[in-house]
């Protein structure tokens, strides 16, 4: 009897969850298209797939194997080589955040709660059913999540990320972890990772990264696209078919080049140029960038793990054999990362400083999710570095609850005013 009731309840929660999630997606896209709008025709593709993020696909490819990842430290090249498709399942929906809150401690960060809720209800991007969920130990909450939700259908795999990336020991450790992960993938998908398919996978991802770098560079040259759109594009990278994503980004790049030539800008020359950093903006929780741009600012660039941190670093292989390709992949996911999981993390500050220079930034907005210890702690060191160069910085703590928008508006508005008057 109770079983049936539980099942019944689950179905009800799943139904209302999916309706709310779909509504949030729709609202986010509507907000992006509201008033201030990039009006780039190549953006339509991205608006479309994001709006339908949890729609049931019309024809589902039953052969397709999906490996879910929860972090940028999961080597996607290995997943492609093993014949599967990586989908990053970090959640941004408030609907699933509330579901996750049912079985996770109250002070858990909303992203982890949202991810857990989405996994529980099966509301992942593209409604995929992953063969394996990879959770790197990049923060304690993600690390422990695998145990807490062990009752779910999905198999969890802990990818042991070292807490330091500078020492030889941690590098060796990580190399071995990645090697073991490759073996695990082979056993899950039943396909061997070979020299040929791994090289192909590296080139596939590298091509996408090359195009993203170009996109990044175009953004630094002139304000021809809003930051909210840029964040949407990198969020599409989470689950889209990579070759198609690359193609669409290419189209957008060409449109942006044309705009730069014609000097068709989306904002006024003196609009404050903002750098976003801290806890990532994950669709549909783009309230911060949308708000900043609605108030007359421009999100010129982001140092987010849902954005530039995920895509700018790339692999250099010296000898195209498995013995060098796998360590090369491992290095790419460890050494250049600016994840606050690492200590020391000077590199993140250096990265932000160099972005400030490259993108001619007027102010920094640092977001920290309620319950996110790592970003919260690092706001201190980053804040100090910003003080040293007299960079106006706004620290915000927020979560996925839409209720705090009133307070956010006041603070963002005041901040943009102060940046303008500087």
């Amino acid at each position: 009897m109770t079983m049936i009731n539980d099942l019944d309840r689950f179905e009800r929660v799943k139904k209302s969850g999916s309706i709310h999630y779909a509504m949030e997606a729709k609202k986010c896209i509507a907000d992006i298209k509201d008033e201030v709008h990039s009006q780039l025709s190549s953006m339509e593709y991205f608006y479309d797939i994001m709006e339908n993020i949890i729609h049931e696909p019309e024809s589902s490819d039953t052969e397709e194997k999906v490996i879910a990842s929860m972090c940028i430290h999961v080597p996607v090249e290995l997943i492609y080589a093993a014949g599967a498709r990586p989908v990053r399942v970090c959640g941004g929906a408030y609907a699933t955040d509330q579901v996750g809150a049912d079985f996770l401690p109250a002070k858990t960060c909303p992203m982890v709660k949202s991810t857990a809720g989405a996994l529980y209800l099966g509301l992942l991007p593209g409604r995929v059913k992953p063969k394996l969920v990879v959770n790197p130990s990049s923060c304690d909450q993600k690390k422990k999540l695998g145990e807490v939700v062990s009752g779910f259908d999905d198999e969890f795999y802990l990818l042991e990320l070292p807490p330091n990336k500078d020492t030889e020991e941690s590098r060796e450790y990580w190399h071995r972890v990645v090697k073991r992960f490759a073996k695990k993938l082979e056993s899950v998908t039943g396909k061997r990772i070979t020299r040929r398919n791994l090289k192909k996978a590296i080139k596939l991802v590298s091509t996408a990264q090359g195009r993203y770098r170009h996109f990044h560079k175009l953004r630094s040259q002139a304000p021809v696209i809003f930051g909210k759109d840029a964040i949407l594009i990198t969020n599409a990278f989470f689950f889209d078919d990579l070759a198609r994503w690359t193609e669409k980004l290419d189209e957008l790049n060409r449109e942006m080049e044309l705009r730069i030539e014609k000097k068709k800008h989306v904002v006024h020359e003196n609009a404050p140029r903002i750098l976003l950093t801290g806890s990532p903006a994950i669709f549909p929780n783009l309230k911060l960038p949308i708000l900043i741009e609605k108030m007359g600012g421009l999100v010129a660039c982001e140092e987010y793990c849902s954005s530039s941190r995920m895509l700018t670093d790339s692999i250099a292989v010296d000898e195209w054999f498995l013995y060098d390709m796998i360590p090369a992949i491992a290095d790419r996911y460890l050494k250049p990362s600016t994840c606050p999981n690492f200590s020391p993390n000077e590199d993140r500050i250096r990265k932000i400083l160099s972005m400030i220079k490259e993108f001619n930034i007027d102010g920094v907005v640092y977001q920290s999710f309620t319950g996110c210890q790592l970003y919260d702690m690092e706001s201190i060191t980053v804040g100090k570095a910003m003080d040293e160069i007299n960079m106006p910085t706004l620290y915000l703590e927020s979560d996925y609850n839409p209720d705090d928008s009133g307070q956010l508006i006041t603070r963002v508005e005041a901040f943009l005013e102060s940046v303008k008057n500087k």
């Binding site: 080139k203 590298s206 091509t207 990264q209 770098r213 790339s314 692999i315 010296d318 400083l353």
Partner: protein, 332 residues
């Protein structure tokens, strides 16, 4: 001008280097037969023990030149040594350590052995950090010895007896170049054990051991011998005044480690050091693979005096490492 620079930045320098090395190899190893003479101050292993060599390694001149008594060392012969050194330095500073990466025939030979290993698909080995730091001292020990031993043959140090003349040109006696260079022109006369006396026996056996190590070592470790080469140590003393330079702009560096992981010598500081401008360290051979592997614009630059001639760019990086198979993907 800008377009030429862009073309060069996106070029495959390693391929150019491979061809250049073949040319330099032929000129140095076989040039003697063609009447080419590049003198006896060559900052690379041009071995006079081979009849085909078009030049002479400067280390030979150093060892013979220092076979002097104190009185003449501080006289005119000492002056001749200084002018010799001056000539060597003039030769050297033009290309700086690129002599090792582009010219030295024994560097080239090791690169070819590496190609052979790749053909068989064997993995390469690397030193760990601690061994790297310890082993790199060996080349300085060799250098000091090859200076002191010739002096000790003509002079008595601290009242000790003079070193036997059998130790003449001590480094040449153990150098794998002496045995291999003649082999390259079909002359096997340097493969022997000299049974004259104990000293010659020990030295000639050491020479054979190092020759064997040269082949075995460089099969498993890229540029195995360069790490112990006293020429490399001598060159490094004058590297700072080099015309050709490799510089790093630490502000642009993400410390991704691409440069150090493609480095044949396994130099870690190229990635980790974000303070120094001069990126040439003692083990560097200026092959510029690091510049090719760097995706950050203007992070690593090859310069002639102050002008950039080859810079790291993201376009160049992705052309070399990323997109060669793009055509296949769009077909899919």
């Amino acid at each position: 001008m800008k377009r030429i620079k862009q073309y060069i930045d996106q070029a495959n320098l390693s391929r150019f280097r491979t061809y250049f090395q073949i040319l330099a190899f032929v000129v140095i190893v076989y040039g003697g037969y063609l009447g080419i003479n590049i003198g006896d101050k060559t900052p690379a292993f041009a071995c006079p023990y081979s009849p085909g060599s078009s030049g002479t390694c400067y280390l030979v001149a150093v060892q013979h030149g220092l076979h002097l008594e104190w009185s003449s060392l501080f006289g005119f012969r000492g002056l001749a040594l200084l002018t010799g050194l001056g000539t060597f330095v003039l030769f050297f500073v033009v290309f700086n350590k690129a002599w090792c990466g582009f010219v030295c025939p024994f560097g080239t030979l090791q690169d070819w052995i590496t190609k052979l290993r790749k053909f068989f698909g064997f993995r390469f080995s690397r030193y760990d950090e601690a061994s790297f730091k310890k082993l790199k001292i060996i080349k300085y020990v060799f250098l000091v010895l090859l200076i002191l031993i010739p002096l000790a043959m003509s002079n008595s140090f601290f009242g000790l007896p003079k070193v036997s003349d059998d130790m003449s040109a001590p480094f040449c006696q153990i150098c794998p170049g002496r045995t291999i260079a003649p082999l390259l022109v079909g002359d096997t006369s340097e493969i022997f054990v000299d049974f004259t006396n104990k000293t010659t026996m020990v030295m000639s056996v050491l020479g054979l051991i190092f020759t064997a190590l040269f082949f075995v070592g460089s099969f498993f470790k890229k540029r195995f011998f360069c790490f112990f080469c006293p020429m490399s140590a001598l060159q490094y003393m004058f590297s700072k005044v080099g015309v050709l330079r490799l510089t790093k702009n630490g502000d642009n560096c993400t410390r991704c480690g691409n440069c150090s992981r493609v480095c044949d010598m396994g130099i870690a500081s190229i990635a980790d050091d974000i303070v120094s401008t001069n990126a040439v360290v003692d083990d560097c051979m200026m092959c510029f693979k690091c510049v090719e592997a760097c995706p950050e614009p203007d992070c690593l630059d090859v310069k002639v005096f102050k002008g950039n001639i080859f810079s790291s760019t993201s376009e160049g990086f992705f052309k070399r490492y990323g997109e060669s198979e793009l055509a296949d993907q769009s077909k899919k």
